[in-house]
């Protein structure tokens, strides 16, 4: 067994050097006693949060808790929800950055990752590179990522809604070319899309499981040959291949696996809504989804805060301010002491 004291915790201490950094060990498991290490920064992390989390860890009833991914499923609040409210990362710099903002992190002996609570939508939406790049570059990739989220969520649904219900919305030339390419096809649009989306998900899953040496081959065989052959065999229309390809491409641009899964699954929900009720259905599902993510919380922290409901923070949400201007910790998490420094001045 790897010893935690020489493995992961020092990585955090390398990034975050402070005597306020507390690490508590809690024993979990009835047959095998594994230690869960809970780390937080005294004075920044909300004491209520620490108590809640500690109680939840102590309340875990299990024989054996081997790693933090299992711990994640034990402590999360909504097991059936589409949206994850606990975050897993393997980057110590990221975990340290979360610590400094008043989050609690968990480590388990022998498990390579860190578990972070509470998290918001923004934790999943951001990547460490956004902060490490210069202001303009970082914001550029964030906007590209936002675009990727929207495209991978909506494109198939919008396509089917336009083809089935709202043909008058697109330029007539395009409408004609879509209709012409669909003329020879035997199946309704929804069958085509489902066929292609499911094959894409299959390729994706197969690409993960297959040995690395033939991974790229699977991609080429699956995506290129299958797509080309399906078009030539008049099973799907060429425009649909574009739609599915751009959707798949965008879903790879989402950095966090949890958010990626959320979007990949909700894409099918939206697809069904678009297929059955057009734009009306898509908008209803979108509104319901929005109401849902606005209403949930992660360990008492509203999921879309600090944007809505609004909390004082450095507005590190869709875009971010230059590093020297980020003078506030997000006060939705570190409630007591959220001012990093007074109004910053450059020399």
């Amino acid at each position: 067994m790897l010893n935690l004291r020489i493995q992961i915790a020092p990585l955090i201490r390398k990034h975050f050097k402070s005597e306020k950094l507390v690490s508590e060990s809690i024993e979990v498991g009835e047959k095998s006693k594994n230690d869960v290490y809970m780390m937080y920064v005294e004075g920044i992390t909300d004491p209520n949060l620490i108590n809640t989390v500690r109680e939840r860890i102590k309340g875990i009833k299990t024989d054996f808790l081997s790693n933090v991914s299992m711990l994640e499923q034990f402590i999360e609040e909504r097991s059936y929800s589409l949206i994850s409210t606990v975050m897993y990362t393997e980057r110590p710099d990221r975990a340290a950055a979360f610590l400094a903002e008043g989050h609690v992190i968990f480590i388990i002996d022998g498990s390579p990752g860190y578990l972070i609570v509470p998290v918001t939508f923004w934790s999943f939406f951001h990547a460490a590179e956004d902060q490490y790049q210069r202001w303009l570059y970082g914001n550029f990739i964030r906007i590209v990522r936002l675009l990727a989220v929207l495209i991978s969520l909506l494109t198939p649904a919008l396509y089917i809604a336009i083809v089935n219900f709202h043909g008058e919305m697109i330029p007539s030339d395009l409408a004609v070319s879509i209709a012409a390419s669909r003329e020879v096809l035997p199946f309704p649009v929804i069958t085509e899309i489902l066929l292609m989306e499911i094959s894409f998900e299959l390729i994706r899953e197969a690409g993960v499981r297959v040995p690395t040496t033939i991974g790229p081959t699977i991609g080429i065989v699956g995506a290129l040959i299958l797509g080309q052959a399906a078009v030539e065999a008049n099973i799907v229309s060429p425009i649909l291949v574009i739609v599915v390809a751009i959707t798949g491409l965008s879903s790879f641009a989402i950095p966090e696996t949890a958010l990626s899964y959320t979007i990949r699954i909700s894409r099918f929900l939206l697809l069904m809504a678009g297929a059955s009720m057009g734009f009306f259905g898509i908008s209803l599902v979108l509104i319901i989804g929005l109401a849902y993510i606005l209403s949930i919380t992660s360990f008492g922290v509203p999921f879309m805060s600090p944007l809505a409901p609004h909390f004082p923070s450095s507005n590190d949400t869709f875009t971010r301010a230059p590093t020297f201007k980020q003078g506030l910790r997000p006060s939705n998490v570190s409630k007591s002491d959220f001012i990093r420094r007074k109004k910053p001045k450059r020399k």
Binding site: F165, T297, P309
Partner: protein, 141 residues
């Protein structure tokens, strides 16, 4: 509730009223004096809105329902709240039907109106149901 949330609610309420009414009908009635319509209606709405705001400011801890009970007593209070409720209900019914009609004439010619209505109502119900949790969250800010 902070300024942002309040602004969002009021903005949408005004925006819906604004986009739902058809100015052309007003112009037909108003003829030459149509220019007065927006001014007068704006004054009426704005003044009463300001009254409402100052009232809410006086009783910071109470909601509108509590204030009405407190100021007018049990009997007149319930009467006024009933009236308010009927007004909102009427607006809700009429506007739901309005939107369903718009959808049915513009986009979904072959879909039964009742189906569109049902979908709208289910969504609205879900959102107002979720609203309980959001209200709970806003108390923290």
């Amino acid at each position: 509730m902070g300024f942002r949330e309040f602004f969002a609610v009021v903005f949408f309420a005004i925006g819906m009223k604004l986009t739902d009414t058809t100015p052309i009908l007003m112009v037909e009635l108003g003829l030459n004096a149509s220019w007065m319509i927006p001014i007068v209606s704006g004054l009426v709405i704005f003044l009463s809105f300001l009254f409402l705001l100052s009232l809410l400011k006086l009783y910071k801890t109470k909601s509108l329902i509590d204030i009405i009970y407190h100021l007018t007593g049990k009997f007149f209070g319930s009467l006024m709240i009933l009236l308010l409720f009927l007004m909102v209900l009427e607006y809700l019914v009429v506007s739901t039907r309005d939107y369903a009609d718009i959808l049915s004439t513009l986009f979904y010619l072959r879909t039964p109106l009742k189906y569109l209505l049902l979908m709208l109502i289910i969504t609205a119900f879900y959102i107002s149901h979720k609203c309980r949790f959001v209200k709970h969250m806003l108390h923290h800010t």
